[in-house]
Amino acid sequence: MEIKNFTITKRDGSQAQFSLDKIMNAIVKAFDSVNEPADLGTISKIISHLDIQDDITVENIQNQVEEALMREGFYHVAKSFILYRQTHTEDRDTLEKMRFLSEYTDSVNAATGSKYDANANVEHKNIATLIGELPKSNFIRLNRRLLTDRIKKMYGKELADEYIKKLTNHFIYKNDETSLANYCASITMYPWLIGGTVAIGGNSTAPTNLKSFAGGFVNMVFMVSSMLSGACATPEFLMYMNYFIGLEYGKDYWQHPEQQADLSLKKRTIDKVITDYFEQIVYTLNQPTGARNYQAVFWNIAYYDRYYFESIFGDFYFPDGSKPDWDGLSWLQKRFMKWFNKERTKTLLTFPVETMALLTDENGNCKDPEWGQFTAEMYSEGHSFFTYMSNNADSLSSCCRLRNEITDNGFSYTLGAGGVSTGSKSVLTINLNRCIQFAVNHELNYLDYLGTIIDLCHKVQLAYNENLKELQQHGMLPLFDAGYINIGRQYLTIGINGLVEAAEFMGLKITPNDDYLHFVQGILGLIEQYNKKYRTKDVMFNCEMIPAENVGVKHAKWDREDGYVVPRDCYNSYFYVVEDDSLSVIDKFKLHGAPYIEHLTGGSALHMNLEEHLSKEQYMKLLKVAAQEGCNYFTFNIPNTVCNDCGHIDKRYLKECPHCHSKNVDYMTRIIGYLKRVSNFSQARQEEAARRYYAMADK
């Protein structure tokens, strides 16, 4: 080998001068380690096998050394060299973890410090959250390996390589790659009602009274959540609670809640007993959880108007043969909302995320006026919750994001497969902005190009599904086996991000106009075509605009680094531009109206940001607007003010604390589904919150 002035590429990507001495030293050391004598002739011979070119990587040189040692017959030495390399690789991994550890401890908050999967839902940064962060990179590697191995078996190596290529080049993004569990689920609690938690590995028997219901419910939600990477929705929560209160105090308890209920010196009323249980359940479930990296469980509940109640629970029977009582439930739902809204002025409570399900008539009026009015009343009192509106009770959003077709599956409680049991097994997101720019820059038809990406996503999701089935066959998924979740009603979800940004790149105006609508329908319609094409009796696909809690920030950053047009630092999770103050409230409802969301089968919630609270009458009008435009899922978001000095919480958006007049205030807002303190969001998200325009009431 001729010695020239080569440059080599080190592991961190930097360049260094090639040094023959270093290679010779390493080889001599390897010989020494197994007590094999090495003379200059032997070493020269080994080196003569090496093929060194400019910019060669250190890894490549070391691979060649291994081969050269073996070619010369020094198998012991080669083995020692390989082991030496392995030890160094492990050291480097540890060093990297230590570097991460020190960066994490120095970062301003947990979400900014998180390298892989920032979640605003972690309140504090401490040793428990750090323990959760450290193995994340290993999980990503493991998940990719599990998936690519399966893709290879099903579709061949080429497709597996294509998946990794599209993933590492950020055309697609695998959500929750840091967890092994399937994503989120809206569960039926019927199996728990019958058999307690034994079937999912717990030791409690079925609840028999209000007390065992309240205690057991909390345990059950913790257990279920530790087997999911995302949210756990319990849409039957209040319906069951109403049943147990009825067992305790009579079905008509709600007609005399002021009656004394216990013989203690406190002389608690029925109402006090009930709200004490609310307190126990809600506060416990908002605690950081050990099994979930010190995050609280993501707990969602649902409220229903009379029509929704009848269509969902009309065929429901409790184990004693009785039917759910609407009058009691109606009272209890209202009581819970009122209590929760008030409690939120005392403490920052994120969970449960609540969804109100309302049925509307053809004129956009609520079919159950009592509940339509109550919804408007709660909004006007500053309560923050989602509303799901439909003109027939064919679907329901009981999770914070999932829409669920009710009619086409049929449901039967006796089989344990509730009409409320649904969810998403896995989300794979397409970065639309990058895909479309790539196609246009390469003079390809963007829909044709997108078709290849969508097709890839479906195959990858089917591979994931096979892995999940294998886990289930080995008894690893008791939630499915015990009937809490019906695997046949779980979706494989195609997520989208960067839709608005891609439209802007195409020169479209992001307002309710035909060109933009055509663009949106073209893309979402294409995804739905593939969703239908790949649907079988065992697998269903849906499409959702993902709440881009951290993906939107990552995509913007990666795309900008790679020279794509990036109009903002965080891609939108809506059909409109968040910082655009020229859009009216009506425009935003239009942009989340029926023509736009038609193909968005997995749903997307409009977060209507307002600067100040409206009156009940104004909210009634907006509910009608939403119904008329066909915007079926939305929430109103008015930042709540939290005083950092005295702790006072105010439902209004204020610059100064009304209690102690401090200007040191923070805000609680819904940037994604969850209501959290702004200072707990990652830095990029905080910037979005600061820029976000909160529309005035008269708009």
């Binding site: 802007e504 047009v565 531009v577 910082e579 655009d580 820029r691």
Partner: protein, 138 residues
């Protein structure tokens, strides 16, 4: 005569940007004193001051625009922003012309009818009208 002031530290980073050096934090601070110096230097020839960029600090641009209108009412003020919507952080009434839109190669610059960029002019009523089509060759 329009004086175009390039503002550095541009966050937009449009691919194909003709002023790549403005991505960096370079140049001198743009203060009201700097504006005074410019006006003095160019005298009565100057009819308009146009801010090119400044999307990192729309409030700062707004503040300077307000200053110019107060001190030099004879001058028009224009702002070329690389964002896709007019920033909510400015008072539009401080500007006479506002151009928005990043440069997107396949759509072309303002004079191209397929452009995504838009130029607005403030009317006497204080509304902003889109005058982009005036730049297109008939």
């Amino acid at each position: 005569m329009t004086l175009a002031i390039n503002i550095s530290n541009c966050p937009c980073h449009c691919p194909g940007c003709h002023s790549h050096y403005l991505w960096e934090d370079v140049g001198l601070p743009l203060t009201t004193t700097a504006i005074d110096d410019f006006v003095e230097k160019y005298g009565t020839n100057l009819t308009c001051i146009s801010f090119m960029g400044g999307d990192n600090d729309p409030r700062g641009v707004d503040h300077l625009a307000e200053y110019i209108h107060e001190e030099y009412p004879q001058l028009s003020v224009a702002w070329y922003s690389g964002r896709t919507v007019i920033s909510a952080l400015i008072n539009k009434q401080n500007f006479d012309y506002i151009k928005i839109g990043p440069f997107i190669k396949h759509l072309g610059p303002l004079k191209n009818p397929t452009t995504n960029q838009r130029l607005y002019r403030r009317t006497e009523e204080g509304d902003f009208e889109d005058i982009t089509s005036r730049f297109w060759k008939k």
